[in-house]
Point group: C2
Chain length 203, copies 2
Amino acid sequence: MISEAVIKRLPRYYRHIKQLADSGVTRVSSNKIASVLNITASQVRQDLCNFGGFGQQGYGYDVVKLKNELAVILGLDKEYDMIIVGAGNIGRALAGYRGFRDDGFFVKALFDIDPRCSSINGIKVYEMDFLEAYLNQNNVDIAIIATQKDSAKSVADSLINYGVKSIWNFAPVELEVPEGVTVENISMSESLYVLSFRSKNKQ
Amino acid sequence: MISEAVIKRLPRYYRHIKQLADSGVTRVSSNKIASVLNITASQVRQDLCNFGGFGQQGYGYDVVKLKNELAVILGLDKEYDMIIVGAGNIGRALAGYRGFRDDGFFVKALFDIDPRCSSINGIKVYEMDFLEAYLNQNNVDIAIIATQKDSAKSVADSLINYGVKSIWNFAPVELEVPEGVTVENISMSESLYVLSFRSKNKQ
């Protein structure tokens, strides 16, 4: 059983190691990783040990090998089909974000109760009524909820009813989901509150 | 010294308690809070004790009082002037996001190396060259970096040079900042990796 804290650090390791690999670095020490990610070197060694990433004394980690190991652990060795529900500011921004594709995440369709454009960045926007039919006919690994707060819960219920197993929630509300369904919340407000908290407590 | 884990939970408490207050709920037990936030009731009691939020046995917490206490702790009892650097998809989405205003965060200006619109949602978009002059003439509590990865570091350096003390970073890169400057990273990719990790390890 991997702790929540480790799970949250994993993506940061991956992103950093990937950046190193992309810039041609072949090996890196736990000290170097630790200083960039602002954690201790012993924490780095312990975390990576959990996942079979073994550094060698005096050599450090093989960057490419570590990157590939982390990618497998994070499930980034496959491709994901995604849909976005809600074509407002957030939904549109997500549809236009190129970073996802580099990691194998592909936005295939958007849904909105009032689709004012037929496509955004080349991705089709459908009426909400078409959601069930779409999910019956297409593979969807991840559904993104980018609706207003008030409709997020009913959208999540529909998605789960129609068989969606992974939800990425951008609406500012805690979603309760049944066993077997994974939800990851990304709350901008929460991040902003952390910033205001830190700013206040520094002064 | 409050632990990172507690700091990260604080905004979730605040958001939940605020929702309760908005819907007219006057008191709530630690068990109720715990079940919604998916943590233990003893954790809730311990966390809130740190901040002077004292529940009464058999009564629970006074929702409005707790909300106000949390708001003060999080620095949400004042208003913040913000600017956004980068008027791409993310910058535009943030400029249009209404949730910030409800919490006292106001986007006053956008900056871009190539401003294709003179304003977005009624907020002026300036050339990057005007950043220094703007920061000299206006109060800016928080600068949001919504640029591409490659320019995020130099933008952060400029902001810090011109006196910005709090940075909210949406670019997918770790920023190193000097003592006295607060940075909060919101990484969509990291959140997505956590989701793919959880999905993979559930199957």
